[in-house]
Subunit: 337 residues, 2 copies
């Protein structure tokens, strides 16, 4: 059966145009394996389609009258806007009308809608959002970055188990190494949470390598790095701010003299090209694991290319049966709420 | 009275040479306000002095036979190496033979020696190490980055009170803004620790602006950002790894073609110059606040310039009476152990 992707047409800084263009391209290019439903303001979607001379079946556009803004409080927004594209798209998954929910909208609202509307998998107390960061060894998958705070040791274990499945099946790493983010490599370094979680992770079947430090993420020392969502979220946002700060420094430098301005002008494009992996967020979505269906969350600044990649990613997650694998793994080790 | 600085001549990747050169330069240049004692292997120190034709009084070299390595476990090392330069230098402060202890050696050992040998100030349950990061508004002082984990709300308050004094007096910011590091700007966002600490910080006399996010550090939204040492340490080490990762990306890019190699060769120096603030760690030490004396901790890769700046920083901290100010502030608000 084709993977049906419910795509939030209104989510993201460049929505609906970027979403419609990316979604329609994925639809046409991969018709043999996936189906796309555009969810959002029908008139706006249709106007973009006609402006770009794109063909897209009318019955695959589901009207949603409301839009949840990037700055809105997630749970409030979901409660107060039942006709928003995020809520309507998530409901399509709950009602088995779609397999996957993809959105580049308000991250908190997308996560909340997925958790509350699609629902958690049995045995999953907390779903987890991962970030696939670039690293010297290719990538480093950090779970959780979803701002679920005050995690307990068993939450970190479940994040690791879910991440392990995702990284094996989607990122094709055979026996991924799992590290726990801490303040020193030695086993006795860390806080109460990491020490207790280390106990659990050591006993699991995971390829657990112990503590990793902040500097080990970009080095790619472990394929998967596990942490409380509080620190993961802070780290991710800090990382995202680094390119902006660099741009600020280059601008300051260019202002110092005419000659320096020329020099910056000359290196700008090379730098952008060479450092493009730093812009990892723009090139695809991050998975929300542990919900009873597929949810892919995109960066606010997703381009149509990023949207297309997110739709494809949703297909892969469906095709590899990630949700079922997570369900059975957590059942096997008897994770209880 | 002159500020007497006990300088660990054996600490740092370029020790003893860089330390001796930097320390002796500071001694000669600022003889009117400070005095330097070099602590370490006397023969090595003297050989560096003679090799560089430097004059330095023999009675200001205190012999210490042992060296604590960068990788040693801090408390074990301090216990097992009572004749190490770190322990001997810290003892000089405890015995009132020096006002300040400056070292670019094993950070954990320097912090542990300061806390255990020099001792905590009355009312300070936990000393705190800060990092003065660069930011779009100049700098952002992050406390604690010292890997003291599982902080309690009152610890975060005391970090903020100590940081406030340091930033006012040393970094010359009149009424520094204080933010607490969290996962959203709204008051109800955060974990148990940040919410409880927010209560305390709101009631204090500090210029408290509430939550700040990971991305706000380099933006410089607050002059001071307070966090648990676990997250501060991870964040700092992550930040330090970014320039290294960038270098890796540039090297990969240069390998793609001859033309690209030329392009990277041309931009390298400009980039190094423009992005020099990212190398903040090399240009001075970070303060350890809350001990009964002055302790400045340098980065392992400190150059002789960095060492000189650290000695000067120690002088400033002495001159501005930071230790006494911290003592009286914490007494005033009645912080108890």
């Amino acid at each position: 059966m084709k993977c049906v992707v419910a795509l939030d047409a209104m989510g993201g800084d460049f929505a609906p145009a970027a979403v419609v263009l990316g979604g329609v391209e994925a639809y046409h290019k991969f018709q043999n394996k996936l189906d796309v439903i555009l969810v959002g303001k029908k008139d706006e979607i249709k106007s973009i389609l006609s402006k770009n001379n794109l063909h897209f079946p009318d019955n695959k556009i589901i009207h949603a009258d409301e839009v949840i803004g990037m700055g809105e409080m997630p749970t409030d927004a979901i409660r107060n806007k039942p006709n928003s594209s995020i809520v309507v798209a998530a409901k399509l998954v709950r009602e088995n009308k779609a397999h996957a929910f993809v959105s580049a909208g308000n991250t908190g609202a997308v996560a909340a809608a997925s958790t509350l509307i699609i629902g958690r998998l049995e045995g999953v107390e907390r779903p987890t959002i991962g970030a696939i960061l670039p690293s010297e060894s290719g990538f480093c998958a950090v779970f959780d970055v979803g701002a679920f705070v005050d995690a307990k040791p068993q939450h970190l274990l479940s994040y690791a188990l879910m991440a392990d499945i995702y990284v094996r099946e989607i990122l094709k790493v055979e026996n991924p190494t799992v590290g726990i983010l801490s303040v020193g490599e030695e086993k006795d370094k860390g806080n109460k949470l990491t020490k207790d979680a280390t106990e659990l992770l050591s006993k699991s079947k995971l390829n657990f390598i112990g503590n990793v430090e902040g500097r080990d993420i970009l080095k790619g020392i472990a394929n998967i790095v596990i942490c409380d969502g509080f620190i993961g979220n802070i780290l991710l946002k800090f990382g995202e701010s680094v390119p902006k700060y660099m741009k600020h420094l280059l601008t300051l430098y260019a202002k110092e003299s005419f000659f320096k301005k020329i020099k910056i002008g000359l290196l700008k494009n090379t730098l952008k090209e060479a450092l493009s992996p730093l812009d990892y967020q723009k090139y695809g979505g991050v998975p929300l694991l542990g919900v009873n269906g597929i949810a892919i969350i995109g960066h606010g600044s997703s381009t149509s290319l990023a949207i297309k990649n997110m739709v494809l990613r949703a297909y892969e997650v469906h095709e590899r049966g990630i949700t079922d694998r997570i369900r059975s793994t957590l059942k096997e080790i008897g994770m209880k709420e």
